[in-house]
Symmetry: C2
Subunit: 449 residues, 2 copies
Amino acid sequence: MTKTTASKPTAIKQAPSQAKPGDRVRVSTAVESTEGILLPRPALLEQDVTILKLDSGYNVGINNQQIKKIEKIGAGVALEAFPSLKLQQKKDLPAVALIATGGTISSRLDYQTGGVKWLMEPGQLFALVPEIAELVRFKEIRTPFLKSSEDMVPEDWQVIAKHCVELLNDKDISGVIVTHGTDTLHFTAAALSMMLKNLSKPVVLTYSQRSTDRASTDTVLNLKSACRMAVSDIAEVMLVGHGSSDDTHCLAMRGTKVRKMHTSRRDAFRPINETPLARISSDGKIEVLNKTAKKRAVNSARVALANGFDGRVAIIKYYPGCCPTIIDHYVKQGYKGIVLESVGLGHVAGHDSQNSWMKALREAIANGVVVCATAQTIYGRLNPLVYSTGRELRKLGVVYLQDMLTEVAYVKLCWVLSHAKKPEEAKKMMLENVAGEINDRLDYKTFLV
Amino acid sequence: MTKTTASKPTAIKQAPSQAKPGDRVRVSTAVESTEGILLPRPALLEQDVTILKLDSGYNVGINNQQIKKIEKIGAGVALEAFPSLKLQQKKDLPAVALIATGGTISSRLDYQTGGVKWLMEPGQLFALVPEIAELVRFKEIRTPFLKSSEDMVPEDWQVIAKHCVELLNDKDISGVIVTHGTDTLHFTAAALSMMLKNLSKPVVLTYSQRSTDRASTDTVLNLKSACRMAVSDIAEVMLVGHGSSDDTHCLAMRGTKVRKMHTSRRDAFRPINETPLARISSDGKIEVLNKTAKKRAVNSARVALANGFDGRVAIIKYYPGCCPTIIDHYVKQGYKGIVLESVGLGHVAGHDSQNSWMKALREAIANGVVVCATAQTIYGRLNPLVYSTGRELRKLGVVYLQDMLTEVAYVKLCWVLSHAKKPEEAKKMMLENVAGEINDRLDYKTFLV
């Protein structure tokens, strides 16, 4: 838990003032004056902005270049790491549950230490985004663990899934929201998609690319949209986040057809090879975009947990010159599955004399390893039938995973291998659609959306 | 050389006719009649289309559903694998050279065997795309080898570079065109970008996603646009291909900022983190889009070959649960460089107790291995300073490659390690811009273009 979102607080350098963080100040530009509590500059990405906490609870960033004057107009206040608002929850609103797992959305600068504090109770959430108290009632907030998502391991997915099942089977709860770091969020979305059976309510994963300390934070719209989808009519595991670089709308994307496609943009998560489930406007309107979206069911069977992950699976990304001894390495280590991120329509070197990929793959498969192919192009579908290399790989027993994402294929293969008794059964299961991870028909308009 | 683009020729099943491949036929729909030589159905993707070779040399595909009648109107002809047109080359046109290396663009169904024949002489090229004889004069066509691009290895890149240098230093030649398979084309583009020094003329790589036997072939516009760019004023290594799914225009993309992003679309190659160099309309108009495009220079120094690749470099794609023993594996095998395709802004598990990535990376770096980080999001720039995991990895000595693509980083690290004397020198070289592989300022509009 040593992750921090910022360097230690330092005095404002560029702003022409003696005001210190915690002081109540008035910041004047040529156009307007703004009053609020001066905050420390939190993120290294926003060194050129002075940030104020307004009386509404929101933070605002003002470009240092435009600031004419900063006046201290009030005494210093102790900056709480996580101010908590004691808002009354409205009993007539539909109930949701929140599982906070860490990540930027659950973290906030501790103004005293420069480290991070994690979100622990509903009042803190309301302080971040007060409007959500008008949308839903938080019946329960759980924090099974708090970690950065790059530190997540498959065991964590199982813990989250277990909590989801418990909460979803509470008849009072309309849907579950999971807040999560962005780095590996799409892996977790795929894992929950595999593990939650008889799903009749929404499971909404959401995130923040920019922390709440930053003027450009995406937490507000993402969290509001997640609340709206959690009480919507779509009963799927979905990821909800910014649909564009501005604050006009969010998208709800199927948990098995989504991927982080940009390091820093707020709309980093994109639907891959599929139309998004729904569009959530900033005014709250939900437009269902995908006809295959599963509907909420009332009085349906209880949600069940199809648990189990076999971690003896590796992703191998192929490249020219890639030595096939990497296959032998995993076979020797007792691995049971390999996701081969191939080039083109599903190829690796097929006719090489020095580096015999065909030989290495044949031996791995003979050893009972399930080898599946995905596309490193990300978009599109594999086709082993067009070229002889593909036909030969298919003949060896490589399973061609259609348009399934590499990340989803990895999660699914871990999951399948913990359930299948034999490699042949696992191969068959990999090609059966569990949660929309295979799209039989690709809409041409789903490229680079 | 066993690659084929199709199954063995079979008789037309659906078309209501006794005509055989090779017969001269008239195909009638409700709207029109078309005359030509009936071709075998070549590609598995186009089973529902009847393909005719017109007298112009082009193939046309007619939907079987719409065909009312197929009449045999002439005797059968022997179907040549590669019909050659004896077009007169125009002496007043600017001269280009072509290096054919294989791939779909250089291959064509052999109607006798069902296998593939490779392109060998200019007349065959003119038979495919007769108009190119009006655009440029082919002074020389070389075929150093013919292979599918998934079979290419770094040694092949050096052979292509050697031929490029020889041809570029012929004063009569305005530019060089390289035809290549699509699977690993972006790797070759990056390799030529690193190896060709003092470039004063265009080096244009082009491809075909759909073979010339198919009605939807992209060969015509790609090859015409490549010819146009080869005699243009832009002196860079560039990849030229379809800009959209229709035939309106091609894009010229910098060799270090391009990636195959779709398995099958004709516009599969997309610019990443950068504005394309130019747009080539189907009518031949070239619009320069990127101000940083380097201009053709006359009477400049000779092009030099900065040869050398050290193949002891691996790409490791990180995922939750990925075991760091993979690092040890490569260190033990004597590898000198690792490109770590990281999650988020440049992270791997930082605070794990079981799988110590930090420990494995520290040991690798202590062993002299150069470890570089790239982003598996593909788009965007790394930033190790925002979170503590990034700061710790940077402190260990991991080199953060800004917005450089993983594929380019791999090619560059192979190249750098063959030139640098010490790891520290290699690390420094990795962050020096050799051929536009690092973009200091990312235009917001370059996401998902």
